[in-house]
Symmetry: D2
Subunit: 260 residues, 4 copies
């Protein structure tokens, strides 16, 4: 069983309440400053996850072990990240799991890359294409922080020029012109492999679906997912007041072989 003692160098999630959580790296001799006082990392080292630690102002934080979702939501961002709800569906639709070989484009700041890497462990691999170097740097930091660098190959290459990998299980697209990559995805995928595209606009979806149908993709399906939080309290239970109304559409397809 994995040790639950907090060690120097670990990332921990300091939890005050649902709106105030901090993903920080434990460094001996250092402190973390919040508006509720500072936390001494030395107070954490050797303690168990799930314990409470007091700040200099006597406010209690709970020290949690970060989950995949925390790494995603706390990504260093250079751009809009994909939401966990959409990542969850992309993972499910793609069919990937431990051992899968996956191509992703573009990397962005690596939120989806992190999730893909999490699930393909320990013997799969994510090949992630991104042209913009400043994104790649942020992505690399985010992926390292989640301890997943060993499962990702970041490629500073133009995916429209071609995908180098062959016989991959899934191609996942989160870029402005997915329809241009569809023929590249077809070549890269193993037969019966899956292609998933995430796009905010209807126009992108229409072009992508047309491109999928022009190649030999089948089972083409587009969905959107709305997640609504609930405020649960006896006598006052109700859905939350505001929600994200739209993030993007998820389009799924499977590679069939061309008729003989």
């Amino acid at each position: 069983m994995e040790s639950q003692k907090i060690c120097e160098g670990d990332y921990v999630l300091l939890y005050l309440d649902q709106r105030r959580t901090y993903l920080v790296r434990v460094e001996s001799g250092k402190t973390f400053h919040t508006h509720k006082g500072f936390v001494n990392f030395d107070d954490l080292i050797g303690r168990a996850y799930g314990e409470r630690v007091s700040s200099s102002l006597g406010v209690e934080f709970i020290v949690l072990k970060p989950l995949l979702r925390d790494y995603i939501l706390k990504s260093i961002r250079k751009t809009q990240i994909i939401y966990p709800k959409d990542i969850a569906l992309i993972i499910m639709f793609s069919g990937i799991g431990p051992g899968s070989r996956v191509v992703e484009a573009g990397t962005g700041t690596g939120a989806l890359t992190t999730a893909l890497a999490h699930y393909v462990r320990p013997n799969g691999k994510v090949y992630s294409y991104e042209l913009r170097e400043e994104f790649l740097k942020a992505a690399e930091k985010n992926i390292k922080r989640a301890g997943l660098a060993g499962f990702v190959e970041l490629k500073n290459k133009d995916v429209t020029a071609g995908i180098e990998e062959r016989d991959v299980d899934a191609v996942v697209l989160d870029l402005a012109t997915p329809w241009l990559i569809v023929p590249r995805a077809y070549v890269s995928l193993k037969p019966s492999g899956t292609m998933i595209s995430f796009s905010p606009t209807i126009d992108q979806v229409v072009k992508t679906v047309e491109a999928l149908e022009a190649e030999n993709f089948v089972d083409v399906e587009t969905v959107e997912c709305l997640m609504r939080g609930m405020q649960i309290a006896r006598g006052k239970t109700r859905p939350q007041t505001l929600m994200t109304a739209h993030t993007g559409y998820i389009t799924f397809a499977r590679k069939a072989l061309k008729p003989a």
Copy 2:
């Protein structure tokens, strides 16, 4: 790389169109009957996934490699199964992945069990409790069919009497009275571990959230997820006409340690 040739004993997905897909086991010398004629399994053996096969009536089916989602949607059912959209969120919220040790209750017909097992491979384990033997039998078939029996321990025991496992990463509940299991889940979970409950009614959610708050769970959150399909066709693009309006609420929490 995994072989892509279809072998005797493989499960394949025969795809005619989006509404007509069949999850079948390839058995030499046998046939599969559809209303579009029968398919000879001998025509499939040795062929590649993604190829087409003709039925006795000359109708073409595409032979796809089943994905997790196919195994879920094609489960032998004794009861309502959880939808892939909810399973996807449960997986994401739970934080589980390769190597996780997970307790599930109840097994039902094993749709969620199958998904949990898929993601904890190759070195994790799902301990799944179910009292009703007829469900366990169906679940066992579904899990075996997906090739995941090695990652699941089915337990014909009453989870309200206690969870035997300790220091598990996540407890996932899909049963009528989740609030009764919350104290058991607290004991079974490792510190900072996650608890997820799926319930169709508000009343179940309120009782469960109250039980979580009575124990030392934090970061308690309840959401529901609506997935809507899109009909994509240039000049005729629109959301689908009918949708599943409600499946259930997903409640998430993390175990904190009791204050000293």
Copy 3:
């Protein structure tokens, strides 16, 4: 105060339960047949609305006074009708009320026409264009049944050839090519008047919005409305299982005058 006694010739709503309601015309000496026995209309005449009447099999029906929504939902249909939720929003967005003069195209089977007529009473008017005669006949029956024929002028004319009315308060479009009618609507509307279009597809909406912006319409807005029923019962409260996922988009605009 309006008399509440049921009279020969009245339309009544026979209510058994929420799924079994019947909009029928009371005719002395006649009966209405249901699978729960027949109801003698003579048993109704002179009775009060809200009372119960027994069928020949001893099953009780409640005799309700039909509401606008009943007339809409029980329309004789030749085509898909607009749902009350969408009609409600169209009425609200259009700003119409007692006294308004409204142009509608097309009439269809008159569900929306009936609602418009209901709200413009007693001194407003609805001018409704429809080319297809079989629709007009059904519409006429539906409007008469609701007692609103005096507030509607049905016009068997091609609205793409022009709208004859001038200085109307609102133009309401529910037809396949609303963008073609936008310039006609502009001419017909009084300054600051409103235009509303209802369309199922995104493509129709995009073309219509472009046409509105090409004319001097302002405050252009498109929405869609999702209505979800709730199953309310202590201990078992939850949203309904199935819902209508999409009916159509409502586009709203106001006529500004062209710059001098």
Copy 4:
């Protein structure tokens, strides 16, 4: 036909763009200040609705005739107002129209009252109960501004003590404890009349539905309405990013007479 010239004392909607609209009263010799310069009301008087007027900084505003929805959205607020989408459904479900007599409780700041008054004109009446005087004052201003004071009787009385009106067509409740008013509504309603309640929480709905079923109400139905805006632009069409996730549930019922 109603004159379209702008007169001293009229309320007008100055429209800059969708986010910047101002509901103001035209007063000769005065000006209206915006961050885009001031508008001289004397420049408006005698002009037609729909025309453009320039501010002192040369920015053009369009002068629109306010619609019901504008009066609602621009209400002087002392409390959360009901959204137009919900008001629209309440109007539709209630079945009211020109000539209806309606009881409302509570008045709040009069947004729903304004809408009810708009639709019952010219020969109906709204009787609106409100205990809190500061709300009544704001409501009175809002209703006067919309020119609807003649159709509303504001009653500074406790509705839980009883409804004074009899044989009304509809009772509309928007208060914290609707279930307490249900027996009062039953007595006040004419047979077959309608009761509508608007409540933010599930708990209120459950209690109200139970109260309705305890009295002789039938056809009890609860819905919620989600409205989502669309961003329409060729090549960039998509739903809006944020939306109101929840306002309240609408519960509808009809009064049946008690069995003999």
